[in-house]
Subunit: 204 residues, 4 copies
DNA sequence: GATGAATGAGCCTTCATTCAT
DNA sequence: AATGAATGAAGGCTCATTCAT
C-alpha cells in the first residue's frame, strides 16, 4: 500500500505479499471459471494454492471479495471499448471484420472470466453490474459507429442498434459454443449484404 | 406410470399420486427458475408445496432427478422444431419474421425453464445435453430451410448456418435482455437486405 | 404445535419430539451453566445429548435461540414475585426472615440459571432484559412491602429502597459466594435492629 | 525489568520497551473492559495500539498473560485494604460513611478493571483468585474493625461478618447498578440503626 | 401415501499463535 | 524491537438424504 503511494522501493516482503495476492487471485480465476464460484470452496482454493485456508482471509475479506478482486484484475471493459470504438471515418466493410475478429479473440483470451460472468450473471451480485455495463457499452459504441457510417452514406439508413446486436451477439455465441474464427468473414458479409438473392436485392 | 402404459382405469390413489407428482414438478419449476437450482433447498420445495420434506423423495430419487423431471415435463424441443421447421416452399421474406416472432413468443412463455437452462448450462450436468440438443436442432432446422430457399433462388448462396444463427441468437438475446418484440421486423429486414447502402450493394 | 391449539391427543411421535426438545434444553441449561454460553459449542451440546449436531437446528433456530428457550423454560420471575410479595399485613419481624430464606432457597435451586444470567448479564443480549426486569421487580416489591410496614408503624420512616436492596443483595451475594443459610437470621436481625449499641440506639 | 532491580541507568531502548509495555497494558485494559476479554482479539489490540500483532507476543506470553498484566498493574487490593482498614479507635458512626463513600469512589475510578473482574469472575481462570482475595480481605478488614467497635462498646454484640458484608455488597451493587452516591448516608444509617420503629426497638 | 425426526458431511469464517525477515 | 505473512484448529450453521412411524 505505502509502496504505491510513496514511490519508495518495495521491500522483498512486500513483493512476496503482492505475489501471493496475485497467486490467490489467479487460483480464484482458474477454479471459479472451472467449477463456478458457488461450487468452489475455500478449501479448494487453499489446497490449489498450496496455502492454509486462513491465509485467504488475510488477503481478502471474504470469498466474494476474492471474486471481486478476480474481476477487477482480469476485467476487460477497457479493451472491449477499444475494440468496439473504431475510427469513425474508416469504412464498415473494413472495420466490422476487424471488430468481429478482435472481439472473438478477446473473448477467447478472457474465456475464464467470461465463463464466470455468464455463470454469475443471474445472482444479482454486485459483480453483475460491471457485466451489464460492459454489454451496454459494447452495443452502444458499435451502434454509434454504424450510425456514423450511415451518415457518411456508406450504409443504408436502418436501426443500427439492431445490427450492432446482431454482430455482437452472434460473435459472442460463436465464441461460447466454440465455433472457430473462420466463420467470421461470412458473418460480416451476411450482415453487410443480407441474404436475399441479387434480383430481390436490387428490387428492394 | 402403469396407468399410462396399460390403459387400465387408474385408481383414485394413482390419480392423486400423479397430481402430487405434477404439483411437485411445478413447484420445482417455479422455485428453480426464481432462485436457481443450487439455491433452492428441499425445505423450500416442501414448504412451498405444503408437504413434508420426505415426500419429495417418495416421488423423485434426488433433487437432481426433480430437476430432470421438470425439464422433461416442461421441455419444448418439439415446439422449437415446429417453429423453426417451416414449410420449405414459402418465401423467406414471409417466413423469417413469423419464425422470429414465434420464437420470441415461445421463449417468453417458457421463460422459467429458459432461466433454468441458462443458469445450469455450465454445470456439466446431464441436463445440459438436452439444452445443447435444442440449440443444435434449432439452428439445423432453420439452416436447412434457408438452404432450401437458396436452392429455390430466393436467397443468394451463402453459409446458411451462419445466417440461421444470426437470427436465433439475436432473437434469444433480445428475449433474455427483455427487448420488446417491435424490433423483430427490423432484425429480419437487416438479415435479408444487409446494411450496405444501395451504391455499395450494387458494386458488391 | 397443533396439539396445543386443538386439544387433540398428541401422537407418540409428537411426544417424543417434545421430550427431545426438553432434553436439549436441559442439556443446554447444564452446559451453559457449567462453562458459559459462549464457551459451549454446538458439538458439546450434541455430544452431551447424544445426537447429531444438525438436530439442534431442527429444534432451535440458533445457539442463541436455545439459550432463550432455556431461560424461558427455567425462568423463575413468577416465583421471585411470589416470594417477594408477602402479605402486607404481617409484621416484618416475621416476614423478612421468611423472604430471605425463600430467596436463598430459590437461588440455590435455580443456581444453574442464575449462573447463566450472571455470566451473560454484560453481553447486551436480549436475555439481559429479563434479568434486569427480575431484579427491579424484586427490589420494588420488597420495598413497597417495607413502606407498608412503615405506614403500619412497625418500621421507622426511612428509605425503604435502600433497606430492600440491603437484604436482597446480601442474600444474593451470600448465595453466590456459597455462604450457608444459617447466617440469614443474623442478617435479618441486623437489618431490623441495626448494629449500634443499646445506649446509642436510644439516643438516636 | 533489570532497570528496576539494579538501579543502573536504563538505556533508551529499555525505556522505550517499558513504555510500549505500558501502552499495550493500557490498551488491554480499555478493550477488555469495553468488550470483554473473550471478545477482544489480538487484532483488535494491535490495531488499537497501532502495532503489529506479533509485537504483543514479544511482550506477553499469551493473550491471557496480557490480562494478568493488566490486573497486576491496575489492581487495587492495597487501596481497598487502606479504605477498609480504618483507624480502630474512631467511632463507627463517623467511619462507616467514610468507608462507604471511599469504596464507592474507588469502584468508580477503577470501573474498567472492575468490569473485567465481574465478567471473568466465572471462568475459573487464575485471575479469579485475586478477585476473591480482594473480596475476602475487604470483608475481613471491615469485619475486624466492627468487632473492635463492639469491644469498645459503641456497637452491640453481633456477627460482624454479616454486617460487614451488608455494607460492602450493597455499596458494590449500588456501584454496579449505577446508583448515585447520595444514598450512601441512608445506607449507613440503616445499618447502624436498623429499620425497626422506636417502640419495637426498645422492646427488642 | 405421508410425515418429520435424525444424520453427517461440509461450508465460510475467526482467531490465537508462530516465525522468517 | 518490530512486522505481518502463514498456520491450523475450531465454531456456528446448512442441507441433501434416510428411515421409523
Amino acid at each position: 500500500m505505502k509502496a504505491r503511494v510513496q514511490s519508495r522501493r518495495p521491500t522483498r516482503r512486500e513483493l512476496q505479499a503482492e505475489a501471493r495476492r496475485r497467486q490467490l487471485i489467479d487460483t480464484g480465476l482458474a477454479l471459479f471459471s472451472e467449477k463456478g464460484w458457488e461450487n468452489t470452496t475455500i478449501r479448494d482454493l487453499a489446497k490449489s494454492a498450496g496455502v492454509a485456508q486462513g491465509l485467504i482471509y488475510h488477503y481478502f475479506e471474504s470469498k466474494e471479495a476474492l471474486l471481486m478482486a478476480v474481476v477487477e484484475r482480469h476485467g476487460f471493459l477497457p479493451e472491449v471499448c477499444r475494440v468496439l470504438g473504431p475510427a469513425y471515418d474508416r469504412p464498415a466493410s473494413e472495420v466490422l471484420l476487424e471488430v468481429a475478429q478482435a472481439l472473438h479473440r478477446l473473448l477467447r483470451e478472457k474465456a475464464p472470466l467470461v465463463r464466470i460472468f455468464v455463470r454469475e450473471a443471474h445472482t444479482g451480485r454486485e459483480l453483475v453490474k460491471g457485466w451489464n455495463e460492459l454489454l451496454r457499452h459494447g452495443a452502444k459504441h458499435l451502434s454509434q459507429y454504424l450510425a456514423a457510417r450511415v451518415s457518411a452514406g456508406e450504409l443504408r439508413p436502418h436501426n443500427t442498434e439492431v445490427s450492432a446486436r446482431m454482430l455482437l451477439h452472434t460473435v459472442a455465441m460463436f465464441q461460447l459454443s466454440g465455433a472457430p474464427a473462420k466463420y467470421l468473414p461470412e458473418l460480416v458479409d451476411t450482415l453487410l449484404n443480407g441474404i436475399k438473392g441479387p434480383r430481390e436485392a436490387k428490387d428492394a
